[in-house]
């Protein structure tokens, strides 16, 4: 199946928002999604954007059952390693279920890698849940390093009341 992958534009935020909700519904976490289409438009398209996106489009004749031609996306942002320098972090990778198995997911990831290298990055980081053995095996077979399992890095988060309390302690 033919498809194209292009940098996300402001107009794509409607489809990206739709696909974020599709994935959340599938994972039964719809009530946890706080980000709206308007948030994406605001945060992804300002002078120093919080993220970048790439969107997959198929021709009209292959549009989805509901009539969508935008059928997948990857959302990423630039990060930094104080040891290695510029890096890119892939936050989301999603392909609508009826378009899977056609190489679209792999193409999206490759595109993010390509954008990262073009920006001078030497690392592409992302997270996978430890019970997701098929994904872990796939990525390890592609030459990935698991910095949690192999180097012992634990991923920590501070949010909500704890974050507010911490921020109040800043002078």
């Amino acid at each position: 199946m033919d498809f194209t992958i292009c940098p996300a534009t402001l107009d794509d935020c409607k489809d990206i928002s739709r696909m974020i909700l599709e994935l959340a519904e599938h994972e039964k976490v719809l009530d946890q999604i706080k980000v709206t289409q308007e948030d994406l438009e605001k945060d992804g398209f300002i002078k120093n954007p919080f993220f970048h996106g790439v969107v997959v489009e198929v021709p009209d004749e292959h549009r989805s059952k509901e009539g969508h031609t935008k059928v997948g996306y990857a959302l990423y942002f630039y990060s930094y390693s104080s040891w290695k320098g510029r890096a890119v972090y892939m936050e989301d990778l999603y392909v609508m279920p009826e378009f899977r198995g056609k190489g679209i997911g792999k193409a999206l990831m490759s595109k993010v890698a390509q954008m990262g290298l073009a920006a001078g990055c030497s690392l592409l980081n992302f997270c996978v849940l430890d019970w997701n053995k098929p994904s872990l095996d796939f990525y390890l077979s592609q030459g990935c390093l698991n910095t949690t399992a192999d180097m012992g890095y634990q991923f920590m988060r501070c949010e909500g009341v704890a974050l507010e309390k911490l921020a109040k302690g800043g002078t």
């Binding site: 498809f3 194209t4 992958i5 974020i20 946890q32 999604i33 706080k34 980000v35 945060d43 120093n48 993220f51 630039y78 990060s79 930094y80 104080s82 040891w83 290695k84 320098g85 510029r86 972090y89 936050e91 989301d92 792999k106 193409a107 490759s110 595109k111 890698a113 390509q114 990262g116 030497s122 690392l123 592409l124 980081n125 992302f126 996978v128 849940l129 430890d130 872990l136 592609q142 030459g143 390093l145 698991n146 910095t147 949690t148 890095y153 634990q154 991923f155 920590m156 988060r157 501070c158 009341v161 704890a162 974050l163 309390k165 911490l166 921020a167 109040k168 302690g169 800043g170 002078t171």
Partner: protein, 173 residues
């Protein structure tokens, strides 16, 4: 001991570079440090910087035996969660050994949180090595959650040849 936390300036990169190496030695991986202070200057002080940095500074009379007044730093950047929105990731937090136990680490961490909250970030995230019990205890006491232990998140990384190979497979449309 009095100290000041302020935004880093380009001329601080020499000190930041010095402390990055000190932190890598503490984490038992000094051979992994590949970047120079020139790269820090380029990447942290351009119109669209890859990172932000805060510095902890003491007055002259408290300078280190080697004559440094810059004794700690926190390096961070903004990230995004498609569930919750704007977030901040703290890549490094370091205080020179002689200056620990004086609230400087807490001051740096709190300032990163404050800057993030002012920018409407809803999460502050970072990584800690599993054997680094003093740091884990410090962060958990402040309300941080270990998502690797709690939810099973693992960080994966493409780099070197594997990254080059992956990028080569991107479609040309």
């Amino acid at each position: 001991m009095n100290f000041k936390v302020r935004a880093a300036r380009k001329e601080d990169c020499k000190d930041i570079s010095r402390m990055i190496m000190e932190l890598a030695v503490y984490e038992k991986m000094p051979e992994q440090v590949k970047i120079s202070n020139e790269e820090l200057e380029r990447d942290g002080f351009s119109p669209n910087p890859f990172f932000q940095c805060l510095i902890a500074e003491v007055s002259d009379e408290n300078m280190t035996t080697d004559g440094y007044t810059v004794v700690g730093y926190a390096l961070y950047f903004y990230t995004y969660s498609t569930w919750e929105g704007r977030s901040v990731f703290m890549e490094d937090l370091y205080v020179m050994p002689d200056f620990r136990g004086k609230g400087i680490g807490k001051g740096l961490l709190a300032k990163v949180a404050q800057v993030g909250v002012e920018k409407q970030c809803v999460r502050l995230q970072f990584s800690v090595l599993e054997w680094n019990k003093p740091s884990l205890d410090f962060y958990i006491a402040k309300g941080a959650v270990d998502l690797t232990a709690k939810e099973g998140w693992h960080n994966l990384r493409f780099y070197g040849q594997a990254l080059d190979q992956l990028a080569k497979e991107a479609p040309n449309n």
